[in-house]
């Protein structure tokens, strides 16, 4: 009887993962469309963005992925303290990333009305920031559940889902960062 229950749980986990990855495939199409738009409209040019800020927010997001991985590994080994601390740090770093992009980059000299440069910059960073925001909300929901002791090494699908989603948001930025800040020569907007 226990074997049947275990098998059912494993099947459910596989289908959960399949559903999540199918969802991420649809996201790839959307973010891929943004990248195509950037190369079509900007070509081999880019606006003069703050390089230091771009580098810092990129490192912040990479660090948040590291702490998310640490939190996931911790709960997979029933290490509740490291799980909660890792998740909290991930959420805080996510907020810092948002502050960097929305609070500082969006106050730079490129405005949304600055033709294709403004449209592409705000479209790409805006859609990505929306995903970061939803990820932060997700992280704090998981954190609250974690404080109530709802996860264990045997059952932590919610944590796995949240972690994979967060890493996906990081992967998107891995492509957006060079596309917005590094590729091409500076065009003065």
């Amino acid at each position: 009887m226990a074997t049947v229950a275990t098998h059912a749980a494993h099947s459910r986990l596989k289908f959960n993962r399949l559903g999540l990855w199918l969802f991420l495939v649809t996201e790839v199409f959307m973010f891929g469309g943004f990248l195509v738009m950037r190369f079509h409209l900007w070509g081999n040019t880019r606006p003069d963005l703050d390089q230091t800020l771009g580098f810092i927010v990129t490192l912040i997001l990479l660090s948040s992925s590291f702490f998310m991985n640490r939190a996931e590994m911790a709960i997979a080994h029933d290490d509740r303290k490291n799980f909660l601390v890792g998740l909290l740090i991930t959420g805080v770093l996510g907020v810092l990333f948002l502050v960097g992009v929305v609070g500082f980059e969006w106050r730079g000299h490129v405005r949304p009305t600055d033709g294709v440069y403004g449209a592409v910059l705000y479209g790409m960073t805006g859609m990505h920031a929306l995903h970061v925001l939803s990820g932060i909300i997700f992280i704090f929901v998981i954190l609250l559940n974690g404080l109530k002791g709802r996860y264990s090494s045997a059952d932590h699908w919610g944590v796995e889902f949240c972690a994979i989603y967060w890493h996906f948001v990081d992967v998107v930025w891995v492509f957006f960062y060079p596309a917005l800040y590094l590729i091409g020569t500076v065009a003065h907007v």
Binding site: H10, L13, K14, R17, W21, F39, N44, R46, Q51, F55, T58, L59, L62, S63, S65, F66, M68, N69, R70, E72, M73, A74, A76, H77, D79, S153, A154, H156, W157, E160, A163, I164, H167, F168, D170, V171, V174, F175, Y177, P178, Y181, L182, I183, G184, T185
Partner: protein, 73 residues
């Protein structure tokens, strides 16, 4: 010959893997910045580095390799 690791050692190994992945990602980001200034933003080189970074995240953080395994990650 297979070596059986204790849960503590498995956790330490997973943490170490995470640190190494993060360090390589950071180095690649610095390399990106250097390539951008040295090559006037070569799209091909920067895209290759971005692919390498994405691959690392997919493999080590998103556990693509164990997607169909019956264990949790």
């Amino acid at each position: 010959m297979t070596t059986l690791l204790t849960p503590q050692k498995k956790k330490a190994a997973a943490f170490r893997r995470g640190v190494m992945t993060f360090l390589i990602l950071t180095v690649l980001t610095v390399v990106e910045l250097w390539v951008s200034s040295a090559t006037a933003g070569s799209p091909a080189l920067l895209f290759i580095i971005a692919l390498a970074k994405a691959g690392l995240i997919l493999w080590y953080f998103m556990h693509v390799a164990s997607l169909w395994s019956e264990e949790g990650h």
